[in-house]
């Protein structure tokens, strides 16, 4: 079958009202699930999976992809409105999104999140269609040593999100790295800091840590210091994100989208690191550098572009190699197999029409995301109008339910509260939470890839300079460190 035949057959497959319907359903379900704290995009996809069994393969897969994309965007809504990332990938969005909401610019932040998400989604889908083959071979050349150098470079983000004091940022990051070591050690299988408790053997649940760290300190602070204005409603703000806003942030959005595409194509990284990396790069290059973390709209744009840029790109290893890039795509691979499709290079030969149908569906999904997202933002606006004295307890209830739902254990809820107090303590001491989270996310990746590489080489460190990819990341790390030091010296000089 020629390309045109396949494309025509694919179009025939996707050009039904059902495919639009299921895709739209998926996006809607995803946005709502993503907007509920604790219900991550992963859970939403897993819950939607059984419903696809009875559907035609193309509808089922489009439904799941819709849930995935919707979920990643939906997570930004509570991240901005109530400082609770709905899904881990949107934690970077809270950094500037929430201060904007506090200032009464929630509408503008949400609008920018939507624009950035949809542009990134479109870029990501186009990259999937145009660059899949090339990016897939790039992804396959990422062994543990390359992975290690990439993660090492990513750790330099910490300087960008540390706020006023780099030392406090480093303390936070080190604590995050430390807490991430709880649980089974991957390489030897020994228990670390588990004190014989089977719950601790699995490590601290990511969602519990995330919610505890971001949402709870806000609530605890409110309990201790109920301010007058908290009884009044904040305003969504009459201002919407304008075209001028988008134009100003466009560079960051496009940069973030491509960071998302690259990290998404490499299996095993996921949306959260991409969002933080995109955020840090935007900050490094912005004239408003010092305003980041205080409600800079470009920060919201960069974070959302980074995490949505991952979505289409995770399908690159899935479709072209048959390997899952993250947990969500692992579930989607399951859906392919249930429908008798085996993702991988042969899919393009045996089911080429199906692949083209998927591509068309994906492009459509970017526009559906925009339409449904706009409606969702308007529907969730009432959250911004609720006085904090009502909002805080409701958020607390949602957090408890969401955390419990991840693993159905009360232990995770306890972890969430413990992390909440830790987060409050950090807030009082003015230690930033974002570096902590980055340490917690990247720590296991850093450690595992380091030890896997050492196993591969029999203990020789030469493996970390084995090819151009590793050299590139070493160089980038050195450059980032140089810039951090240069800026520190500059600020010292300014003080004296």
């Amino acid at each position: 079958m020629s390309f045109l035949d396949s494309a025509a057959a694919g179009f025939a497959l996707v050009a039904h009202w059902e495919s639009v319907f299921y895709l739209a359903m998926g996006v809607l379900v995803g946005v709502i699930a993503g907007a509920v704290p604790g219900v991550s995009a992963t859970m939403a996809v897993a819950l939607a999976l059984p419903f696809t069994f009875a559907l035609e393969p193309i509808y089922g897969i489009l439904l799941l992809l819709g849930v995935y994309k919707g979920g990643i965007f939906g997570g930004s809504i509570p991240a901005i409105l109530i400082k609770t990332p709905g899904t881990p990938a949107s934690s970077a969005t809270t950094l500037d999104g929430y201060p904007m909401a506090e200032r009464g610019e929630a509408g503008r932040a949400l609008g920018m999140a939507l624009y950035a998400s949809c542009i990134a989604d479109l870029i990501s889908n186009l990259s999937l269609i145009l660059l899949a083959g090339w990016l897939a071979s790039f992804a396959l050349s990422f062994g543990p040593p390359e992975f290690f150098t990439l993660i090492l470079f990513s750790l330099t983000i910490i300087a960008g999100v540390s706020g006023e004091s780099l030392v406090k940022g480093l303390i936070a990051a080190a604590s995050g790295l430390l807490l991430a070591t709880v649980g089974l050690d991957l390489v030897y299988g020994t228990d670390r800091f588990s004190f014989g408790d089977p719950n601790l053997m699995g490590g601290l649940n990511f969602i519990a840590v995330l919610i505890g760290l971001f949402a709870l300190p806000e609530i605890i602070d409110f309990v201790f210091r109920p301010k007058e204005e908290h009884h009044q409603a904040r305003q969504l703000g009459g201002r919407w994100a304008t075209l001028a806003d988008v134009r100003r942030c466009l560079r960051s959005i496009i940069r973030g989208s491509f960071i998302g595409v690259f990290l998404g194509a490499i299996p095993g990284i996921g949306g959260a690191p991409a969002a933080f990396l995109s955020y840090a790069e935007a900050q490094r290059n912005s004239p408003n550098r010092d305003n980041f973390g205080k409600g800079e709209i470009e920060g919201v744009a960069a974070a959302e572009a980074g995490n949505n840029g991952v979505c289409g790109a995770t399908l690159i290893p899935l479709l072209s190699l048959g390997i899952p890039g993250d947990v969500i795509t692992a579930i989607i691979i399951g859906a392919f197999m249930i429908h008798g499709l085996q993702p991988g290079p042969m899919l393009f030969v045996t089911h080429a029409h199906m692949v083209y149908a998927l591509f068309m569906g994906l492009i459509l999904s970017s526009f559906l995301l925009f339409a449904i997202g706009s409606v969702a933002i308007r529907a969730f606006r009432f959250v911004a109008d609720v006085p904090k004295s009502l909002l805080a307890p409701s958020v607390l209830v949602l957090c408890v339910f969401g955390t419990y739902a991840v693993n159905n254990t009360i232990f995770d809820v306890a972890v969430m509260f413990a992390m909440g107090w830790l987060g409050y303590l950090m807030r009082v001491l003015k230690i930033p939470a974002a570096p902590f989270l980055i340490g917690f996310i990247l720590g296991p990746l850093l450690e595992n890839s380091f030890r896997q590489a050492m196993l591969m080489s029999g203990g020789s460190p030469e493996i970390f300079v084995r090819g151009p990819i590793t050299w590139t990341f070493w160089a980038l790390t050195a450059l980032a460190l140089y810039l951090i030091v240069a800026r520190l010296r500059q600020s010292w000089r300014a003080e004296t």
Binding site: M43, G183, I323, N408
Partner: protein, 325 residues
């Protein structure tokens, strides 16, 4: 209060205090899945729960409780009340490999009553399609000639893949595979297969279902399957063909278990349900697509099968000193 209402209250109090199992199940049943959504155990457990739906008077709720390579969820079932309302999808990793390898595990096989094994997953060993290793013999020879250069990937310490690589090498004449070959633990089954695809690891031994799409796509080349019968889609000799029938104990499986002390009635009721569920065409079709063989063993056979596999793994672990403390 009239005498009638008092009488009614008394009878209902008696009815409540009499063994609740009189009409098991009276409430929804939690089916714990100790592995993550989308994995082999999850799909198998959920397919079973779906097939059981119309046959069981109460809902069966699959619950993913993940962590520590299946230990967290499994331990929570071991500690639950043996009333039949908390059951677990028992799996080769959580119920034979892990107990055989880890002394620090918070449960043992004795903490469970097994209803049945209902599914068998053949194990296959494979290399990258462009690898110059063309048979298990070549592989073993390569390991013996250059100790410490050949690696295999797994989904972690105490996983089926971990023990399978060592067991396969050993039966093909590698005296001490733990020393001679490199075990490369990855963060999951998908990553383990990717490692072989990317050339990070040299070979992998895992459930054929995890490899089938890579084999069909010509990305990985199978060297051996460990069942007595050939596996569809795998152009490779069986372990019996290669003169190693002892490797047939190296198979994946799923079953249903509950905390030790389950009433007989619960076990029998579940037996009946399973017998119906395995006849369900939808269930069979799903299992088929994942390359699993639906094989409902009798309770005695199930327990014997699990104990035998545990014994073999335990011996291997002792001989090779693979114990994790």
């Amino acid at each position: 209060m009239s005498k009638i209402t008092l009488g009614l209250a008394l009878t209902s109090a008696i009815a409540l205090s009499s063994p609740a199992l009189a009409a098991y199940p009276e409430q929804p049943i939690q089916l714990i899945i100790a592995y993550g959504a989308g994995g082999a155990t999850d799909l198998s457990g959920r397919a079973l729960a779906t097939a059981l739906g119309p046959k069981v008077p109460q809902p069966i709720l699959p619950v993913n409780r993940t962590g520590a390579g299946g230990a967290t969820g499994t331990a929570s079932v071991a500690a639950a009340e043996p009333d039949g309302y908390t059951m677990v999808v028992a799996r080769v990793g959580s119920h034979t490999v892990n107990p055989a390898m880890k002394d620090t595990l918070p449960y043992t096989l004795d903490d469970f009553d097994f209803v049945a094994v209902y599914e068998i997953n053949p194990v296959a060993c494979a290399v990258a399609a462009d690898s110059d290793i063309d048979s298990m013999e070549t592989l073993a020879a390569r390991v013996n000639e250059n100790p410490g250069t050949v690696s295999y990937s797994s989904s972690g310490v105490g996983s089926l893949l971990h023990i399978a690589g060592a067991m396969a090498l050993r039966s093909f004449g590698v005296e001490n595979p733990v020393e001679a070959a490199i075990h490369l633990p990855m963060a999951g089954g998908g990553e383990a297969a990717t490692a072989v695809l990317a050339g990070t690891a040299d070979f992998i031994c895992t459930n054929s279902s995890a490899l089938s799409s890579f084999v069909a796509n010509g990305q990985l080349r199978p060297l051996m399957v460990t069942t007595a019968e050939p596996v569809a889609g795998f152009d490779a000799p069986t372990s019996a063909d290669l003169g190693k029938p002892e490797l047939e104990s190296l198979v994946g499986w799923s079953g249903i278990a509950g905390p030790a002390g389950l009433p007989d009635e619960v076990i029998e009721t579940w037996r009946g349900w399973l017998e119906e569920a395995v006849q369900d065409p939808g269930f069979q079709e799903t299992m088929d697509r994942f390359g699993s063989i639906v094989d409902l063993k009798s309770p005695e056979d199930s327990v014997a099968f699990i104990n035998e596999q545990y014994r073999i793994f335990r011996e291997l672990v002792d001989e090779l000193d693979m114990r994790v403390e």
